[in-house]
């Protein structure tokens, strides 16, 4: 396995080592495809966006500044491609109509806007939940986020970048990154709690 950094591989590709491009594609296959599947909520669109993203990388490599990191650049391109594809294929319904508004239907009476993370139960893998069920619930919780929130949440989670780096990549002010990510995490936690509750009480009689 080639130990060179992504940026070094990009440099090598520019110098004519064409075969290193495949290394980049292989290196990012799992992470990027998982990111795109979560973002688009659809495997086929994710695969198409994956190809589009690398094609774009190939086409735009001349403009890539190798003093910057490759990973965030790739993920940002990929997110753009996924967004384009979703738009082209007739945007999916992101907010389910059945999604409860606030917690009015849940009867907890706490107003539902403020989320305390320590009260949100995230069961560790292999406990109770079937992998399939868990996977589907996570997607449902993500799908209920508005597109920009889902995007910033997943970009932050998958890329593990500082606020300043995200701000730089997305070209939005640092304060906006921070407040959007706060909102995104809170909404995701809240949605997760909701889908968990819906699962526990599937036949909740009014």
């Amino acid at each position: 396995m080639d130990q060179r950094t992504d940026e070094k591989l990009v440099e090598a590709y520019r110098q004519g080592e064409t075969e290193v491009f495949r290394l980049l594609v292989e290196r990012y296959h799992d992470d990027l495809l998982r990111f795109l599947t979560r973002l688009a909520g659809d495997r086929q669109i994710a695969e198409d966006a994956f190809q589009d993203a690398f094609l774009q990388v190939h086409l735009s490599l001349g403009s890539f500044d190798t003093s910057r990191r490759f990973r965030p650049w790739l993920f940002t391109i990929a997110a753009n491609k996924a967004r384009d594809l979703l738009r082209k294929r007739g945007r999916r319904q992101t907010l389910e109509l059945s999604a409860p508004i606030g917690s009015a239907g849940g009867g907890s009476g706490d107003g539902g806007s403020f989320i305390d993370l320590l009260e949100v139960e995230v069961p560790p893998p292999d406990t109770g939940l079937l992998a399939e069920e868990r996977d589907e619930m996570v997607q449902r919780a993500l799908d209920r986020l508005s597109d920009p929130l889902r995007e910033i949440l997943l970009l932050a989670y998958f890329q593990r970048l500082s606020y300043a780096q995200v701000a730089d990549e997305l070209g939005i002010p640092l304060g906006t990154v921070k407040s959007r990510l706060h909102g995104a995490v809170a909404s995701f936690a809240k949605n997760w709690r909701e889908v968990s509750t819906e699962r526990e009480r599937p036949a909740n009689q009014e």
Binding site: D30, A186, W192
Partner: protein, 439 residues
């Protein structure tokens, strides 16, 4: 209300303190509420609020930071959003993260019921990000909450149960590389929408592009050969998978080859994606639909637009001609006892270049090989279950797999090279020995 059935009418109900069901009691005076409503009715434009209500509306708007933002989607959502904020702001003991101002909604980012992090959770998130997402480096007082963030992130990023197999992985990588190769070969350049950031000087870009172009043109032929042979190997593996699937299918189905169409009549059998009852590819798709083969096994890595997962659960065919990698025997009539016989009849082959041209009404070249392998040849799966590589579309018997016998008989040698009028998609194999695949 059941007022009509109860003779003594109940006392009038108290005014609903929570008409929007936010779960909290709004604390606005009537005047303020009216001003706020007028403000929202005016699409959050103060100058459109009636004069009498404007001072109050102005105050309310300023209080909630709405002056900076455009309207949140949905009036009801707006109102309950703001009311819940008011209720919260008035509730003692609840600290909000950052200011009490609701998040800006310039791009409709926040749903009417957007959630907000508690101060501690927000601090923990910031600390966790600052610590490079390493919980151990988060100050001890925030560590528990940072762990909660970590768990939440793990939830969203964990590989699901449908993680791609080694096979699917290689396949996507291969298809991606095919796209890149196509771009190189066709000299595709940046699309206009993706302009280069202005911080790079044009001269820099041009010199980099020149270096790339020279390097690619020198090395590409070498790389192409390596790539072609790896693609052929994968495609041959696909063929073997399809052979197994056909074996299992015919065994379960009274020795019949897959056929869901009922003959094609006068409509062309290349109606892919429009009408599964008159599309020959729907016959081959049966193998995927009835789970004898995975769609990925019927996707050649040499076809960048091949799909590896169904477009929808109830799909009965590929949705476009481009998505199809393999051509199947044109099933003009049900055929029994063909598969598994020592026959050299071609049942499946790499996609037909003849059909791709004929669909567009172009002249066809009977000697052309499949675009799956850049015109160098094609795999053919014969009824005896063997998958073989053919440099030309003509079998040792002289049978051209892209055409039915009657057409083959009327074209002479010169016409084979020069090209002939397209077929119409209504042709059928002459007999059980005539290899003819499409689309």
């Amino acid at each position: 209300m059941d007022e009509h059935q109860n003779p003594p009418p109940p006392p009038p109900p108290p005014p609903d303190p929570d008409p929007d069901h936010t779960g909290i009691t709004p604390r606005l005076s009537t005047e303020d509420a009216r001003a706020l409503e007028a403000f929202f009715d005016a699409d959050c434009q103060l100058d459109r609020v009636p004069d009498a209500l404007r001072p109050r509306a102005e105050r309310a708007a300023a209080l909630f930071g709405l002056l900076e933002s455009s309207p949140i989607e949905g009036r009801q959502g707006r109102i309950s959003h703001v009311l819940s904020r008011i209720g919260r702001a008035g509730r003692p003991g609840v600290e909000t993260a950052g200011s009490a101002v609701p998040p800006r909604s310039r791009e409709g980012l926040y749903e009417g019921d957007a959630a907000v992090l508690l101060n501690n959770d927000a601090e923990a998130l910031d600390a966790w990000v600052l610590a490079g997402f390493d919980v151990e480096r988060v100050p001890a007082s925030l560590r528990d909450r940072a762990r909660a963030h970590e768990a939440l992130a793990a939830l969203a990023t964990a590989p699901g149960p449908h993680a791609p197999s080694q096979f699917e992985r290689a396949h996507l990588v291969e298809r991606t590389m095919t796209r890149i190769a196509e771009a190189v070969e066709t000299g595709q350049t940046l699309e206009p929408e993706l302009s280069i950031p202005t911080r790079n000087r044009m001269a820099d870009i041009l010199s980099v592009a020149a270096v790339l172009l020279i390097a690619v043109s020198v090395l590409w032929p070498v790389m192409s050969r390596v790539r072609d042979s790896s693609r052929q190997a994968e495609c041959a593996a696909n063929m073997r998978g399809v052979a197994h699937a056909l074996g299992a299918y015919t065994q379960d189905n009274d020795d019949m080859l897959p056929m869901v169409t009922a003959g094609f009549g006068s409509s062309p059998w290349w109606n892919v994606g429009r009408d599964p009852t008159s599309s020959n590819s729907a016959n081959l798709y049966t193998l995927a639909r009835e789970q004898y083969a995975r769609l990925a096994e019927m996707a050649c890595p040499g076809n960048p637009r091949a799909i590896t997962a169904p477009r929808s659960l109830d799909a009965r065919d590929w949705s476009t001609l481009d998505e199809i990698s393999y051509s199947y025997r044109v099933m003009a009539r049900p055929e029994r006892s063909i598969w598994g016989t020592p026959s050299q009849l071609v049942v499946v082959a790499d996609r037909s270049p003849v059909v791709l041209r004929a669909v567009r009404g172009q002249v066809i070249y009977p000697m052309e090989s499949s675009p799956n392998h850049r015109g160098q040849g094609q795999h053919a799966l014969t009824a005896d279950g063997a998958a073989q590589w053919m440099d030309t579309p003509v079998l040792p018997s002289g049978d051209n797999i892209w055409l039915p016998k009657p057409i083959e008989m009327i074209i002479d040698f010169a016409a084979r090279r020069r090209g002939i009028d397209p077929i119409h998609g209504t042709e059928a194999p002459a007999d059980r020995q005539d290899s003819f695949v499409g689309p």
